[in-house]
């Protein structure tokens, strides 16, 4: 299960993820962000309540990172231990701006 809460104002967007970003929920996540990223110059993903991520989740984060690279800034905050473990082994700890 994944809960996605997103809001944006004046080009600044925030997405809060809760639950699990796995094979199934990553498909929904990708659908949810289509269009949402348009016109954003600053995006923050809050992962405070994200407990699990698989390669399918990393794939969507890469897509977001590559989109935001041309548009502005993108950071990820409040990453928990298990998710950080996956970021480190996959090299995403160097790809993403994690704060």
């Amino acid at each position: 299960m994944l809960d996605i809460v997103k809001r944006s104002e004046n080009g600044i967007g925030v997405i809060e993820l809760s639950g699990e970003l796995d094979t199934t929920s990553s498909v929904n996540f990708q659908k949810e962000i289509e269009g949402f990223l348009d016109n954003l110059t600053d995006l923050t993903i809050d992962m405070k309540n994200l407990e699990y991520i698989t390669s399918a989740g990393l794939r969507v984060l890469l897509l977001i990172d590559q989109t935001m690279e041309d548009q502005g800034s993108f950071k990820v905050i409040n990453v928990n231990e298990d998710v950080m473990d996956v970021f480190e082994v996959s090299g995403f700890s160097e790809v993403l701006d994690i704060q």
Partner: protein, 139 residues
């Protein structure tokens, strides 16, 4: 030996993960090790379910058989995945370059790579028209 056979469709991933990971909670596997087993199994299952039977006729039986055992001495879990799909050796899959920056990265390849990293050992054989993949992990 504990064993389950499921249709090779994505809605069965959670069922198999529960079958494998629930017993680990009773053993010496900590939260982190269980997450590693879970992630590795999910990546393996998703690969098989997405690709193994892609070219098979629709009336053919498309299943995955999963067995696990926990060795008494080492308390190690050994999980075996068997499918009758197209031969595919994940160990021959080239590792992605994980030092690349985001803009230079292509999606894909990370599932198998993380499986190799998170498990202690991974073996593949093709026998009697079956892909047989065995992974092992100690607590």
């Amino acid at each position: 030996m504990n064993e389950i056979t499921v249709k090779a469709t994505l809605e069965n991933v959670d069922k198999v993960i529960e079958f494998i990971c629930n017993p680990l909670k009773e053993l010496e596997f900590n939260k982190k090790s269980i997450m590693h087993v879970r992630l590795a199994c999910e990546e393996i299952l998703v690969n098989i379910m997405s690709y193994a039977y892609a070219d098979s006729p629709s009336n053919e039986t498309k299943t995955i058989n999963i067995k696990y055992e926990i060795t008494k001495e080492e308390k190690e879990i050994r999980i075996t995945f068997e499918d009758s799909g197209i031969p595919f050796n994940p160990l021959e899959h080239k590792d992605p370059d994980i030092t690349l920056k985001g803009k230079d990265r292509a999606p894909g390849g990370l599932g198998i790579y993380m499986t190799k990293k998170f498990m202690d050992d991974i073996q593949y054989e093709y026998l009697d028209n079956k892909n047989i993949l065995t992974v092992r992990k100690k607590p």
